[in-house]
Amino acid sequence: MSKKALLQVAGILVITILAGIFFNLSNPNRIQFIANEKIVNFSQSDSLLNALRIQDSILKAADSLKNTSNRREDSLRLSHEKHIQDSILAVNKTDSLKRIQDSLKTVNQKKEDSIKNAQNQVTDFAKPIDIKIDFAKALFDKKYRFIDARDISDYGAGHVQGALNIPFHEIEKYKDRLNDLPKDQVYITYCSSACDVSIDMAYYMAKLGFKKVYIFHGGWDEWKAAGYPAN
């Protein structure tokens, strides 16, 4: 290897650097020369879990309230009928019944609004959120859909129970499976553990308009190690 050839190598490298710099600066798809550090901001699982628990308790409370109000309405109706028969007390009782029914309706409406608010606090977002296994399990228990972004062979070897396989490496081929899914539902993407296809898949889904996508970083390896439901 002559000295001249080594100088040529240096020349090629210099030309490469200059061409790269100028092309990147003039490229509409330009990127930063030094990338920003990728920081995985895991969602505050505790607060999200608490929110889910609150949501559950509100739903239960709303159910019991509805049952109570139904029972009360029935009893009120019965008493109302009785009171209609009783000509002396009928007018007064009807007024009080109406007032009670109106107040019950208002309470029910308020409860429904608070449930909707709680649901929105838990699930309304556009950017995918990074989650850990505890929250992934909580979402699994709530029957939300898991999406396995690994290849078919890996999925076949084992996957989260009920997970839908959409291999990200062949996304064009399996795009229809994504299009069939309702976009306002909650989804959790995962792959193995030392992988990024779950992240790629989540952001791809977000770009398609899916608004509630979580990324389960622990992936299949962590799920399996925890002994959670699997196929």
Binding site: E37, K38, H169, K173
Partner: protein, 161 residues
Amino acid sequence: MKKLFENKYIAIAARIVLGAVFMYASFDKMANPETFASIIDNYHILPYQLVNALAIFLPWLELITGLLLITGKWVKSSLLLYNVMLVVFIIALSQALIRGLDISCGCFSVNPSSTSEVWLRIVEDIILLFVGIMLFKYTKDEDTAIQNSEIENKNLINQTN
């Protein structure tokens, strides 16, 4: 093997094939630097500070070395860079295969749906590296070639005299 790669026409054909492969591989990466950076990052072998820089410069290095090989200029030096790049690619792909990383190769296309058969890409790179090494070994330096032709001319002149 020596005879094969010292054959002028075979050497030119091999250089054109090697050059064309690298030039073709560079276009999609240049057009989509962000996606290519993400693919490099997925290999988990470089610190994040270097990922974007490599995504910007690597396609240009491929293009320039490919162009030099096809045009026959600075052949020895471009072959050296070519072979070094192939060794790096083979190491990167092999470690991904061994670690079981679920990645897109990013070899010829930055499309995530491009083939994920990493071992096939390793075999391709090994073949290219073999040809590259043979060409490097049996290609004469431009200086040496000039010196040789000058000596031959002198000999011819002496013989004629």
